[in-house]
Amino acid sequence: MIEVGTVLDERVFYLDRAMLKAYADASGDQNPIHQSEEFALSVGLPNVIAHGMLTMALVGKYVTDWAGGAAAVKEFSARFIKPVIVPADQQVDLTVSATVLEVDGDRISINLSATSAGIKVLGMAKAVVIK
């Protein structure tokens, strides 16, 4: 039963440098802050960071799987509040969960939570799906 306040199962995704490279190629965003540690450090970042849109794509996968397919996703939004930091030779987590905000017939709004290493990386993350 889906009702306002229903909490959806948490899911953990893992990111590594290979995934960042694959996302750079798939999205066309080749900004070196997502691939080169030397460059990232030179612009004051703590290390290579994931593309905000990669984080959002993974959260989108969470939404898609829950909704029963990408065609069910009508609206999706998020604010990038902290970077997901991806050191070399490591897998870092992206832990996603959600709560039902509103149910209007088959139209369901959910509020999404996304953290990495315990730090909230997305703010105001919401999706509207038809389910």
């Binding site: 965003d29 794509a57 989108g60 990408a70 009508k74 609206e75 998020a78």
Partner: protein, 129 residues
């Protein structure tokens, strides 16, 4: 500095961007999506971001792409993108404000296939001081 006269204006992007199945496959592969018959919900950023870059860095608008940070993103998806979609793209600069020397612009991207609006998206882009 971004030209303040560009606020409220809509700029036409490429006349046609054709979506291929291999592009959808590559995007799906990154997020382990096995259903590749439609594009994932955030796929259109691949099109919008490159359009933004070519439009917003024109001298008459003046965005410095090397100082750009993505602040937030919203998608309204009227139907999922599929291989074979041919899009006309536009970018509308909705607002511009300056905070602590950073220029914060809100840009809207509409992807039309013929007369059909398929995806509208909004991006807040921050040009760091």
């Amino acid at each position: 500095m971004i030209n303040p006269d560009s606020v409220g204006r809509t700029f036409a992007g490429a006349d046609s961007v054709t979506v291929s199945q291999s592009e959808i496959d590559a995007f799906c592969a990154v997020i382990s999506e096995t259903n590749t018959t439609v594009a994932p919900p955030t796929f259109s950023i691949r099109i919008s971001l490159s359009q933004y870059e070519s439009i917003l860095t024109q001298p008459e608008i003046g965005v410095d792409w090397t100082r750009l940070v993505h602040g937030d993103q919203k998608f309204e998806i009227f139907r999922p993108i599929v291989a074979g979609d041919v899009f006309k793209c536009s970018a509308t600069i909705e607002t511009l404000r300056v905070a602590a020397g950073n220029e914060i612009i809100s840009v809207r991207s509409d992807l039309h296939n013929g007369s059909e609006l398929v995806v509208s998206s909004w991006s807040t882009l921050v040009v760091r001081a």
